[in-house]
């Protein structure tokens, strides 16, 4: 059954057997949480609590506690929103597009990447809600629900409404896709629990697995569903960030009103998503001792994607600059002059350094196969991508058409607090996921390890 290639290195190293896979991955779920998990959880909860206080303050007193002003109506809020949505792209890309392209190396990382997607989208969604200041209105007025307001309904011309649809669709599909993938693994944990005699766990995971029995027919259906969902998700990967980019591209503000935005945003999203996946997996593989499943080979492949998307993003930046000059539009020209030279030039150059220059280091094999370098660069890329959104949003707004209205922007502790809130939320959710859910798709990974009957491979892979 298992095809072992003599030219390709195995995707899972350490001579793992099917049984090893079940054991290695279920171990986290079954055992007591480790000390490091508790420490991480404590920090996350503290961040979450502090952030929650900031969120409550904003909702109680008003958006005025942020640093926004008459000219800069969005800053950290939408920057963070776009940043998180961008991060949320990698999961679906890995699980859907790579599934369709039959990239088997995705199998050991797709679960965590998808979880990351879901939590990132949740974090992202908090910003549009909180940034209204009165989110209780946004919950239902922004949706085209039947109402008693007569002809008053949602405005389908507004990109913000498109956002509502794009993100909620993306979230729903990602969630379903992720969950469907989890079902067989839940069943594995249930089965092990039965053997171990842990009744409570058996019942909980039985419920979570919807009573999965693992018959051939079930597997067949499972795979069809996975394919269908992958097919559904694929356009979504492109559409979500395209639509997010339209928040800007359809406006009249110089620096926003740009046709290059959809592809540029999608590339940036994949770029930042992969960086975030790397950051998380590099930690997870150490903490949960999954070095054999998430190998240097995986890391290298993801780094290659980072070079590609980072270069796409870099070309987009340069294209923008060129067009702003080539167009001869003085507002457009000034907007970019101001990015490069103005009061927020530091953020522009931070973005350029982090997003364009730093990923180029991955051309060097030594760097792209170095765990430490990858970890540092993955964080730098995400810092850079945050600055990209900040540059687009704040530097475009703060000096637009009418010079009398030009202002600066200074964040307050509440701007920062909201960002901290989403970090707390994200890591709390991710740690819970890592503890209670199998972080690697056991069922899929089993298809790429050799079967028990085979002899161990003579080569132990890259890590050995």
């Amino acid at each position: 059954m298992q095809v072992t290639s003599v030219v390709r290195d195995p995707l899972v190293t350490g001579g793992k057997t099917v049984k090893d896979v079940s054991h290695d991955i279920s171990r986290q779920v079954e055992g007591k949480p480790t000390r490091s998990w508790w420490i991480a959880m404590a920090i996350s909860v503290v961040l979450f609590a502090y952030g929650f206080y900031c969120v409550c303050t904003v909702l109680w007193n008003g958006i005025g506690v942020w640093g926004l002003n008459k000219t800069v109506g969005w800053a950290w809020d939408i920057t963070n929103f776009v940043w998180w949505v961008g991060i949320g792209h990698a999961g679906t890309l890995i699980s859907a597009i790579l599934l369709l392209f039959r990239q088997k190396w995705r199998m050991s990382i797709n679960r965590a990447a998808e979880a990351m997607t879901i939590f990132a989208v949740i974090c992202a969604a908090t910003f549009p809600l909180i940034h209204m200041g009165r989110l209780w209105l946004g919950f239902y007025w922004a949706l085209p629900l039947p109402n008693a307001f007569g002809s008053l309904w949602a405005n389908f011309n507004s990109p913000l409404l498109w956002d509502v649809f794009a993100i909620s669709t993306y979230f729903t599909v990602s969630l379903v896709f992720w969950y469907i993938g989890l079902i067989p693994d839940f069943a594995t944990i249930r089965d092990r629990a039965v053997v171990q005699g842990n009744n409570i766990r058996a019942q909980i995971y039985n419920a979570l697995s919807f009573g999965w029995q693992g018959g051939a027919k079930t597997w067949m259906r499972y795979e069809s569903v996975a394919l269908i969902l992958a097919g559904l998700s694929t356009p979504l990967v492109l559409s979500v960030h395209t639509i997010v980019s339209m928040d800007f591209a359809t406006s009249v503000i110089p620096g926003w009103h740009t046709t290059i935005f959809p592809p540029y945003f999608v590339a940036g999203a994949i770029f930042s998503g992969f960086a975030m996946v790397l950051t998380l997996l590099l930690v997870t593989r150490v903490v949960f001792k999954l070095e054999d499943y998430i190998t240097i080979y995986h890391i290298e492949l993801m780094n290659i994607i980072i070079i590609v998307t980072g270069s796409v993003v870099g070309i987009a930046y340069i294209t923008e600059l060129f067009i702003s000059w080539y167009s001869g539009v003085e507002y457009e020209g000034y907007a970019f002059y101001n990015r490069v030279q103005g009061p927020f030039a530091w953020s522009y150059w931070s973005m350029m350094t982090c997003n364009v220059i730093s990923p180029q280091l991955f051309w060097i094999k030594k760097i792209r196969t170095s765990i430490a370098a990858t970890f540092v660069l993955s964080i730098i890329v995400n810092i850079g991508m945050w600055f990209e959104r900040f540059v687009i949003i704040v530097t475009s707004l703060h000096r637009d058409y009418i010079p009398s209205s030009w202002t600066g922007f200074h964040p307050t502790m509440f701007d920062i607090g909201e960002y901290v809130f989403t970090f707390g939320l994200f890591f709390t959710a991710f740690l819970l996921f890592a503890k209670f859910f199998p972080v690697i798709n056991m069922a899929e990974v089993k298809s790429i390890v050799r079967s028990d009957s085979e002899k161990p491979h003579h080569k132990e892979g890259l890590g050995a």
Partner: protein
């Protein structure tokens, strides 16, 4: 057949059998009586009792204060709920005057407009006049009479005051009445009565911004101390040496109106006045000048002398000593001489010597009888600086037994205020009649508060034979009494009702000449607000000693020593002289030039503000020391246009007892005013040190230049305009796919089917030539539309809520390609004021992006906000190219955080000023200019009830109504006969356009701001035309 199809249903066997028992109860709901009927109570009774019990418990548990709203038992005949009444009245604040119309809703004055019937102000108002309605509802007003700060009954106060007055009179002690300029003849008559009773009384008038020098100069030049009427509309050449006649000099409302008439240009009237300004600070007047020269205050006299000599050379008269070469001076003299007979020279100096020379110049130019009317004298400034100085001396020497401060505050706003304050405790009887306690009231024994002017009867004679009536527009809110009644009471008069006094005076004075019966005459005067009598023309002969004056100038003015700077003390465009400093509308009104709010500052030439980048208004403080005075420490504001070696310090700050709004802001500049040649001198040579203390000034505009953006600011010069009215117009074109040769108007390249305006199509035109930047419109808008005030901190956070702002741009020396250089203003910049408000775009970018359709387009061209639909995404504000949308970052009403800055929405008293036709917006809601939609609706309703269309001019927006110069015109673009259609030469439709009912303007000056982005605003601006020579190539 039919029978068989009809089914019969029955309720029970009883119905089927139809027993008599059943028939009896058949009409009842229940066949058997229910238990409640047995008890003799109905279910309804039970519910009633239950409901009452519940609400009684609920009410008893409820601790919220009960706010009583008492309906009229008998409705007053002339008060209809929701229907405003308008009363003609008169704004008087010291010597400042405006004839006004007060809008009253349900007994509350809520808005002030100008009264066009007054020949002085002609419907013009200033920001201070507009804001004064909120001063009526000032929380720091006195609630009643006080002795030693304790509330007393008026009769107790009267008893003590009369006893003391009589005691002083019996000993022959001196009594003084101190006031600002009194415009009211009846008040003066009352004071005369008081003086008759107490003959040792002297009445002393002083002015915060004194014109005593002019009075003295005219006395010397023409034999009588008067201030003439200056008619700027007749002047073809205006030379002003440091006279801020648009902002603060003598009668700015009147002057602004006249000035604007002379500045108006169009294709028919292609002539406009040429205005030269020589000044140290950049005043609003200087900002409007065609040629502006920076001079030092010590050079004012020399500049006037030089001008005198230049003109004298042409007139063949003897020259005088002194004089200094200054840029544009010779050119100004040439122009003045060329337009002889329609030239006007004014000087702001309060020095008699300078004014004598100015009189000499005007005499040579033949201005008397043409641009200056010496027969139509004005009473705006009657202050006698020498008498006031003498009074301070007497007070300090203990020679004064009793002093009454009639509605004035010299302890704060007189240079010798401190001395007055210190001497007051030795005075037997000290009374203040101001409607607020203030610094002077704080130090007197008796407080006999007057009404606010909107609560009182009064009259005024601002100009010779122009009489103006004040009538109460509200019952006095507090237990105040008109000061005149107080005087009459203390004088023991039998008639103490000031209303009767005024009425009787008017009957006596004008009754005979009125030609109608007295009641009719009175009613007419009350209705009109003004009564005018013709003035006999009088010619004057100049006999001033110009030689002596020139010598005095040479001797009196010394340039600042090295290490010193020359200080100019001036009235800023918002706080003015500080008498209304406790009015948050004025505190948050950006000064027309500096755009600073809530803050005091010293203006310094940018090059001399060493070490201060002034990025985002971050600056340091300076210590200003006048010899013999306590140093003043204020923030430094680097001000383009400020003459090198000079600094400017606004008056009106440093209040200590004005109230919560004003107290503790900045420093008091009055003590720095000196005496020169017998009159107050608003300047001094001072030591100026930049100190380490950092400070951030609250400014509403932090970027000063227009960045050379022709699509924002368009201007040309008169000579070009005469040749081609569309000269220098920027008409953006877009290239089509046919190549760069084929360029079209941006608005024709549209995918949109435009809005169809079948009824009205409201639009606005703003003339950049006649807009002086005075900002009366801003306050009018605030008051009309209940615009929240946010305070200093929030302005620093760049969150002021103004729906209408005046953008002020300085020119830059850099070429349009040098973006970095363009950010810096010139040292002596040309200035443009551009009122900026919601442009009511036909293709509004805000409308498309709102996810909930909270901002939509009306069928009449308005871009409208539905506040209670708004969810606060702020996308509309981001996408607004004009940045006119304002977000409610906080709850600005009923919020302790804003209690002291937004008094109109946070206190019961303040809330009385709110316009009930306009919603007070809540937190999280976007707002912006609505084109005063409430006024449009009211106008349409009135017309509809009368079964007619709205006539042109019937509906006017608050800003246009407040615009003294008529720069803002509002009207219906669909009405081809409307003023705006004619002004803009609106083309309603033309066939080759893809859009119908879309307007374009053929006025060659008309342009729309950033037209190329195709948002198609409903507001046009009229290109600014400067009357200066073409730059030498």
């Amino acid at each position: 057949m039919e029978e068989s199809n009809k089914k019969v249903y029955w309720k029970g066997l009883e119905q089927l059998t139809n027993s008599p028992e059943f028939v009896k109860h058949a009409h009842q709901e229940f066949a058997q009586p229910g238990p409640e009927e047995d008890l003799g109570h109905s279910r309804r009774d039970f519910l009633k009792m239950m409901g009452f019990g519940m609400s009684a418990v609920a009410l008893a548990a409820c601790e919220a204060p009960i706010r009583k709203a008492i309906p009229y038992v008998n409705k007053p005949v002339d008060v209809d709920p929701s229907v405003p009444n308008y009363y003609a009245s008169t704004y008087i604040n010291g010597g400042d005057y405006a004839s006004v119309v007060v809008k009253v809703r349900e007994g509350r004055p809520i808005k002030i407009d100008g009264n066009a019937l007054s020949s002085a102000t002609k419907g013009g108002v200033s920001a201070q006049v507009e804001a004064s309605v909120l001063s009526l509802y000032d929380n720091d007003r006195l609630r009643g009479a006080k002795i030693d700060k304790k509330r007393v009954d008026w009769k107790d106060l009267d008893r003590e005051v009369i006893a003391k007055l009589n005691a002083i009179a019996a000993q022959g002690g001196q009594i003084r009445i101190v006031s600002n300029t009194i415009l009211s003849p009846s008040t003066k008559a009352v004071i005369e009565k008081f003086k008759a009773k107490f003959p040792t009384t002297q009445h002393i008038q002083y002015d915060q911004s004194s014109a005593y020098g002019i009075l003295k100069a005219n006395e010397e030049s023409f034999g009588s101390a008067f201030i003439p009427t200056y008619d700027f509309s007749k002047a073809k050449t205006i030379v002003s040496v440091a006279a801020d006649f648009i902002g603060s000099w003598i009668a700015p409302i009147e002057f602004t109106k006249g000035y604007a008439l002379g500045r108006e240009v169009n294709e028919e009237k292609t002539d406009m006045s040429r205005h030269y300004q020589f000044e140290s600070i950049l005043s609003i007047t200087g900002a409007n000048a065609d040629y502006r020269t920076q001079i030092k205050p010590s050079e004012e006299g020399a500049v006037v002398a030089q001008l005198y000599n230049l003109i004298a050379a042409k007139a063949g008269r003897a020259t005088v000593t002194g004089g200094v070469e200054k840029a544009n001076l010779a050119k100004a003299a040439d122009d003045l001489w060329a337009t002889k007979g329609s030239s006007l020279v004014v000087a702001g100096s309060n020095d008699k010597a300078i004014q004598v020379l100015v009189n000499g110049i005007n005499d040579m130019l033949g201005s008397y009888g043409t641009t200056i009317d010496p027969s139509l004298t004005v009473n705006y400034r009657q202050g006698d600086d020498q008498a006031m100085s003498a009074f301070v001396g007497e007070l300090e020497a203990g020679k004064v037994e009793g002093v009454i401060f009639y509605n004035c505050n010299p302890v704060y706003d007189h240079p010798q205020g401190k001395k007055i304050g210190a001497a007051l405790k030795n005075v037997t009887l000290s009374i203040a009649t101001g409607y607020k306690e203030e610094e002077t009231g704080d130090l007197v024994k008796y407080l006999a508060p007057d009404h606010h002017y909107l609560e009182s009867w009064n009259d005024a004679e601002p100009k010779k034979n122009l009489f103006s009536l004040s009538q109460p527009t509200i019952t006095p809110i507090f237990k105040t009494r008109s000061a005149q009644s107080s005087f009459l009471t203390w004088a023991g008069e039998s008639e103490t009702d000031y209303f009767e006094v005024v009425k009787a005076n008017w009957s006596t004075w004008f009754g005979a000449s009125a030609g109608v019966n007295l009641q009719t005459f009175w009613d007419k005067c009350l209705y009109d607000g003004v009564y005018e009598k013709p003035v006999e023309a009088k010619s004057v002969y100049f006999s001033g000693d110009v030689g002596a004056a020139a010598n005095a100038i040479s001797n009196n003015y010394k340039a600042a020593a090295s290490g010193q700077k020359e200080l100019v003390i001036y009235e800023s465009g918002n706080i003015g002289n500080g008498s209304q400093a406790n009015n948050p509308l004025l505190q948050e009104l950006p000064d027309p030039i500096t755009k600073a709010v809530w803050d005091h500052y010293v203006t310094v030439a940018p090059k001399e503000a060493e070490g201060i980048k002034f990025f985002e208004s971050n600056t340091r403080k300076a210590k200003i020391t006048v010899e013999g005075q306590e140093p003043v420490i204020v923030a430094i504001l680097p001000q383009p246009g400020q003459a090198a070696g000079t600094i400017g310090l606004p008056l009106g700050y440093g209040r200590t007892k004005a109230g919560k709004v004003a107290d503790g802001r900045g420093a008091n500049a009055y003590p720095l005013i000196g005496l020169l040649n017998g009159s107050l001198s608003y300047g001094a040579n001072v030591k100026f040190e930049i100190i380490e203390e950092e400070y951030q000034i609250a400014q509403t505009q932090t970027h000063n230049t227009a960045m050379g953006r022709a699509a924002v600011i368009q201007e040309t010069i008169l000579s070009k305009f005469k040749k081609d009215p569309s000269a220098d117009s920027y008409q953006p074109k877009v290239t089509t796919w046919n190549g760069t040769e084929d360029k079209i108007d941006p608005e024709t390249a549209t995918l949109w089917k435009n809005h169809d305006y079948t009824n009205h199509h409201w639009g606005m035109s703003i003339d950049l030539n006649t807009c002086t930047g005075c900002a009366a419109c801003v306050v009018a808008c605030n008051v009309e539309n209940n615009v929240a005030l946010v305070g200093r901190e929030e302005v620093i956070n760049r969150r002021e809520m103004h729906w209408l702002r005046i953008d002020r741009y300085y020119s830059s020396d850099a070429p349009v390609t040098d973006w970095k250089g363009l950010e810096e203003a010139s040292d002596n910049p040309e200035v443009v004021f551009q009122p900026m408000l919601c442009q009511h775009c036909n293709n509004a970018p805000c409308e498309t992006v709102c996810p909930v359709a909270a901002t939509t387009h009306s069928t009449e061209g308005l871009n409208q906000m539905t506040y209670n639909r708004c969810i606060g995404t702020r996308y509309c504000a981001n996408n607004c190219p004009y940045k006119v949308r304002r977000f409610n970052w906080f709850k600005y009403h009923d919020n302790k955080q804003f209690q002291d800055v937004n008094t109109a929405m946070n206190t019961d008293l303040g809330k009385m000023v709110l316009n009930p036709d306009v919603t007070v917006r809540s937190r999280g809601v976007m707002e912006k200019c609505s084109f005063c939609v409430q006024r449009i609706q009211a106008g349409k309703l009135t017309a509809k009830k009368e079964k007619r269309r709205v006539a042109d001019g019937e509906v006017n927006v608050a800003c246009a109504a407040a615009c003294s110069t008529g720069a803002i015109v509002f009207g219906d673009l669909n009405d081809k006969d409307s003023k705006i259609s004619k002004l803009l030469k609106v083309r309603p439709t033309f066939a080759d356009r893809p859009t119908v009912n879309d307007k374009d303007a053929d006025n060659p000056r008309a342009y729309q701001v950033i037209e190329e982005i195709g948002v198609r605003p409903n507001i046009w601006y009229l290109k600014k035309v400067r009357n200066k020579d073409a730059a030498k190539a």
